[in-house]
């Protein structure tokens, strides 16, 4: 089966004002099958937001895609013209940004913002566009559709704004939605509501989803496969069930270990120190590529070889892979 999205050896760098360039993503490769939900797990500095922006070629002015290919529905997005990209964005491939409170225009009514997306891609008459927008709103909001449609973003709650972003994303019937931490600023109950909404919508509209987050617990029971990123590289990839319950890369293992213990395990760990990943979070460095493993300074299982070369992705079985020298033999 041809993958819906095929990213090959993607390399993105940013150039600071001083002229120094730093690599945000290096050698990132993965494939997404139609109907699949891929969870991208990464903390600050992992390059996850850069990945989301790069997929749509919406990097800021000082960002550059240096190498690689992004095949979406058979077309290489890196060779597409700006006109073609404008057509694809929002119509075939939709992006939901972080911070719902900031991603909506403050002075335009919500229904109109959704209608604008539809009007940009479909050549419906104005009335048809409005009706379509109402239908989309009804799919996303259980009640009070008209009132919410007429509201401005500041009159809605955080969860409602997140739903509006989702409505905008699905309005033209895309095949892939990339969601960059859309629930990060919401409280857990609303987060669960949004996740449930996503589950319902992806089934109804047969969507493929890339869900980017820093919280591994959100991917449990939601993602089919998980991609773990650290310092702009993919360190582990595999089915969600195996990556989250039996991770093979030292970073993933350490990350999952440092979560507060599940309360079923009892009070034994109460107020005890959590096993943390030592050292500070990775800050991008303009080092030559391939000279060392990026996680090595903080790794508990580091070896000499880790300072000499960068590890390749090693397939542990047909679906699960980790880029770590300890699996080389």
């Amino acid at each position: 089966m041809t993958p819906l999205l095929d990213v090959q050896n993607l390399r993105v760098s940013y150039t600071a004002r001083s002229g120094q360039s730093s690599t945000a993503l290096a050698n990132v490769s993965f494939a997404l099958q139609p109907g699949e939900t891929l969870g991208v797990l990464g903390e600050s500095g992992s390059g996850k937001s850069t990945l989301a922006a790069a997929l749509l070629r919406l990097l800021p002015a000082n960002g550059r895609i240096e190498r690689g290919a992004i095949y979406f529905e058979g077309q290489d997005l890196l060779r597409a013209t700006p006109r073609e990209l404008e057509k694809i964005r929002g119509d075939r491939l939709a992006l939901i940004f972080q911070e719902p409170s900031l991603a909506l225009h403050p002075a335009i009514r919500v229904a109109e913002q959704i209608a604008d997306v539809i009007a940009a891609h479909k050549s419906f008459a104005r009335r048809a566009v409005r009706e379509h927008a109402q239908q989309i709103l009804a799919a996303v909001f259980p009640s009070e559709v008209k009132r919410i449609g007429n509201s401005y973003p500041h009159q809605l709650s955080g969860g409602q704004r997140a739903r509006v972003l989702i409505a905008q994303a699905i309005s033209c019937g895309p095949s892939l939605i990339v969601a960059d931490e859309p629930t990060a600023s919401l409280d857990p109950e609303t987060q669960q509501e949004i996740l449930a909404l996503f589950r319902a919508l992806r089934q109804k509209f047969d969507l493929s989803v890339i869900w980017i987050t820093h919280n591994p617990l959100l991917l449990e029971g939601f993602a089919d496969r998980v991609l773990v990123c650290y310092a702009g590289r993919v360190v582990e990839t595999g089915p969600a069930s195996s990556v989250l319950s039996s991770p093979r890369h030292p970073y993933t293992q350490a990350l999952l270990r440092c979560l507060p213990p599940s309360t079923e395990r009892g009070l034994a760990n109460h107020k005890q120190c959590l096993p943390v990943i030592p050292g500070e979070a990775f800050v991008s460095v303009a080092a030559a590529e391939g000279c060392r493993c990026r996680f090595e300074p903080r790794c508990m299982e580091r070896m000499v070889i880790c300072t000499e070369r960068e590890p390749e992705m090693i397939q542990l079985n047909s679906t699960h892979g980790a880029s770590c020298f300890k699996h080389v033999d």
């Binding site: 409280d187 507060p260 309360t263 109460h270 500070e280």
Partner: protein, 269 residues
């Protein structure tokens, strides 16, 4: 043992409305009563809009209460005048959620931490600098970075600066209003360890306001659940999480990722 902080029927109303329009009243807190004992951690959880942040502001004397009384170490805080409140303030300090907006971006880490000492005129100038350096080291920041500005630090490091600043005046009570919520998971773990360590070595008392029930269960001795301005349940962390009494608590536990309770196991979709 005497409670360090005691609140009795604390209520807070916000009024909005101009001279011409009708007044709208928002009841942020409606009669909250509880006590906190020294060297313990109280976690305050609840859905959005339940009044957690308002409670934090009232306890920190940053907002006057509309009615009710608060005692701090035998002094009735709500009965104090401005001068008296100023004297109490060093003992109750607050750490906010977003370090990017709670730290002045134009001041260096050292200046930020010595600012409270300057304002309250504690110690003489050279000693203030030394104390600030000590505090930065205490929270795990490298000495070489003391002169850097907040934007040169990571999110976790900025929160460390905020905590160091809060500790400058040697408070007894530290109110953390979602202080860990904006941080990555691994950084949250580091900060949790720091807080536990500081509590043990400095004898601090924490009021920890959070959405994250798993972290609350890990860090807190007691958990208070709020809804619509009222405290609907309060008890030992362990019993609140494993034997919740109130419907709101059950709802929060169900929604919280990472908190498993066999009786409340959500249906897999």
């Amino acid at each position: 043992m005497e409670p360090l902080l005691r609140a009795e029927n604390v209520a807070k109303r916000f009024e909005s409305g101009g001279a011409f329009g009708s007044r709208q009243e928002v009841r942020a807190l409606a009669g909250v009563t509880f006590s906190i004992f020294p060297r313990t951690t109280l976690a305050v959880v609840g859905p959005s809009g339940s009044g957690k942040s308002t409670l934090a502001l009232c306890l920190a004397c940053l907002e006057p209460v509309s009615s009710g009384r608060i005692w701090f170490a035998r002094t009735e805080v709500t009965a104090l005048d401005a001068e008296g409140q100023r004297a109490i303030r060093p003992s109750i300090q607050m750490v906010f959620q977003d370090p990017a907006s709670s730290l002045n971006p134009r001041m260096s880490a050292l200046e930020l931490v010595s600012e409270p000492l300057n304002i309250h005129k504690r110690f003489d100038k050279p000693e203030r600098r030394d104390r600030a350096c000590d505090l930065l080291q205490r929270v795990g920041l490298p000495r070489e970075k003391a002169a850097h500005r907040p934007d040169e630090f990571s999110g976790g490091q900025r929160q460390r600066i905020a905590i160091a600043r809060a500790l400058a005046l040697e408070p007894k009570l530290l109110i953390l209003d979602e202080a860990l919520s904006a941080l990555d998971c691994s950084v949250q773990a580091q900060m949790a360890n720091l807080l536990i360590d500081l509590q043990a070595s400095l004898g601090l008392t924490y009021v920890f306001i959070t959405h994250d029930l798993a972290m609350a269960a890990h860090l807190a001795d007691e958990i208070a659940v709020m809804e619509r301005g009222q405290m609907v349940e309060m008890g030992a962390a362990w019993s609140v999480v494993n034997a919740p009494q109130h419907a709101v608590t059950r709802r929060l536990l169900l929604a919280a990722p990472g908190v498993c309770h066999s009786a409340l196991e959500p249906q897999a979709v």
